[in-house]
Amino acid sequence: MIKGKAHKFGDDISTDLIVPGRLAHLRSNLPELAKHVLEDADPTFAGRVKPGDFVVAGKNFGMGSSREHAPLVIKMAGVSAVLARSVARIFFRNAINQGLPILICDTSRISNGDELEVDMARGMVNDITSGVELSFGKIPPVMMAILGSGGLIPYIQKYKGFQLPD
């Protein structure tokens, strides 16, 4: 069970808004880069987010560039999962590879600041503030296994390659 507060964002949050290209000189200095997480979407977010909190977004979250720094800095900020109506393909894979869960659900029913509780095993989000319960879409088994190992690097270290379930 993961508990935290919802930080709401709109549709089409690009990786440029999460970690802008102009900060590319900080990419080998991750702690510094992480201070700018989601800066161009909401400059106050980095100062407000607490460990365990959730990023809650609309459709097509993480669109654009393949920079894995985007999910990486979100995770470094302490965010426990991203909830969105839909996510861009590369971002989805990158987030799982970094061990950051992506939960696809009807986020329009969650309000900014709501207290949420996520049950990964049951696939449910409980909005404690509003009492609304939402189920989230299944993550493919190969990605669940990567997530379960804590990301792609520990997964490969453990299995030495990709294992496809039968």
Binding site: D12, A24, H25, S66
Partner: protein, 417 residues
């Protein structure tokens, strides 16, 4: 049951009967990274405990995004990547050689190949008939190490284009129009397959422009069948032996079929701040533009520079509009010098920068000032993309870019050609 292009290529490379929705492990023919995603890729590779890639000859590192380096931090990243290339035996394309996707198309991509790159516009090589897709640093590090990776076989949208392009209309206008129709997430996870007489007649430069932007509708790949145009392109590049014809089966299953009458299209522009915010160029007449960018992996090829030069030859850019030109590769740059296009552009007032990404991602060579607008031939107009969240980016073809540089405001190129 027949197969789409994506299913055919992934079947070949996985040794399985790959169908939409399946998860397969496929061999990769080329893995590459660039200087802004590369350092993390290299560190993930090392963190996993690998010393050498499965096949170093199939791995390539490009220093193109911040080239030459605008800062000491990025210069240090470049040093690290050059070191990593030497230690692992990966090939290196250094400062001035050009944008990764252009070089991959010019030198390495073949029909039927599987290519993964740590850059979202890796899809460009779909123009040559390669299943090419962008991934993040960890995935690319592991693909390098193992020589293979996993894919979910995508469903396919068949984009059927018939008719000839009208005067002033280019491949860029077709793809902008399509993204406007599909939406920025309209094809998420899908393969776009471009068939019909309009696409089979299209030259390779146009195909690369269209495949390049498949990602802007969320697609995983944008694929062109491999045909005579592909064969001639490979031959001209000295790798004619790598040609193999690949066509989708007539009874392949498509999730959606989109039919486009190409002859009815006109010059299009994507307005800030999303690529699907598309309108005809003529509707934006009067929009002031401070900077025009001609170049990038979308439209920095020889034909693009030729088209812009033909409009600007003997004329001058508007005094309050600066034109920045970034050729996509050294080969393009050199050919454009030899053909006189660079002189024409310089005489019109252009600033020519290093072959590479140039100002496209907001690192250097043309970051926007507060409230400034740029009309760019690139592929993204997201807020903050060109170095400033208070800047505005419009996307259009090289013809529209040249016409706009001339007038200082967004101009339908049909007014000046």
């Amino acid at each position: 049951m027949g197969k789409t292009l994506a299913e055919k290529i992934l079947s070949q490379k996985s040794g399985q009967d790959a169908r939409a929705g399946d998860i397969v492990i496929a061999r990769v023919d080329l893995v590459f990274l660039q200087d802004t995603t590369g350092p993390l890729t290299a560190r993930q590779f090392q963190a996993t405990g690998f010393q050498k890639p499965a096949n170093p000859k199939a791995c390539r590192i490009f220093i193109d995004h911040a080239a030459p380096s605008p800062s000491r931090e990025l210069a240090d990243d470049h040093i690290f990547l050059r070191h990593f290339a030497r230690e692992t035996g990966c090939g290196l394309s250094d400062v001035g050689e050009g944008v990764c996707h252009q070089l991959v198309a010019e030198l390495w991509a073949n029909p039927g190949d599987v290519i993964v790159g740590a850059d979202s516009h890796t899809v460009t090589a779909g123009g040559v008939g390669a299943f090419a897709t962008g991934m993040g640093s960890s995935d690319v590090a592991i693909a390098m190490a193992l020589g293979q990776t996993w894919f979910r076989v995508p469903e396919t949208f068949k984009i059927a284009g018939e008719g000839d392009m009208a005067r002033g209309v280019t491949a860029k206008d077709i793809i902008l129009y399509l993204i406007g129709q599909l939406g920025a997430d309209g094809a998420t996870y899908k393969s776009l397959e471009f068939v019909g007489s309009a696409f089979s007649k299209m030259n390779m430069e146009g195909r690369l422009t269209i495949a390049n932007m498949a990602i802007e509708a969320g697609a995983k790949v944008g694929l062109f069948p491999s045909d005579r145009v592909t064969r001639d392109f490979l031959k001209a590049g000295g790798r004619g032996a790598r040609y193999q014809p690949i066509q989708p089966d007539a009874d392949a299953t498509y999730e959606r079929v989109v039919e486009v009458d190409i002859s009815r299209l006109e010059p299009m522009v994507a307005r800030p701040h999303t690529v699907d915010n598309v309108v005809p160029a003529r509707e934006l007449k009067g929009t002031r533009i401070e900077q025009v960018l001609l170049g990038t992996c979308t439209n920095g090829r020889l034909g693009d520079l030729a088209l812009a030069a033909s409009i600007l030859k003997g004329k001058k850019c508007h005094p309050e509009t600066r034109l920045v030109v970034a050729p996509a590769s050294r080969a393009v740059f050199k050919a454009a010098i030899e053909a006189g296009y660079i002189t024409d552009l310089l005489d019109a007032g252009a600033a020519i920068v290093t072959a590479g990404c140039g100002p496209c991602l907001g690192l250097h060579q043309g970051a926007l000032g507060k409230g400034e607008s740029c009309l760019s031939t690139s592929n993204r107009n997201f807020k903050g993309r060109m170095g400033n969240p208070e800047g505005f980016i419009y996307l259009a073809s090289p013809a529209t870019a040249a016409a706009t540089a001339l007038r200082g405001e967004i101009t339908d190129p049909r007014e000046v050609i």
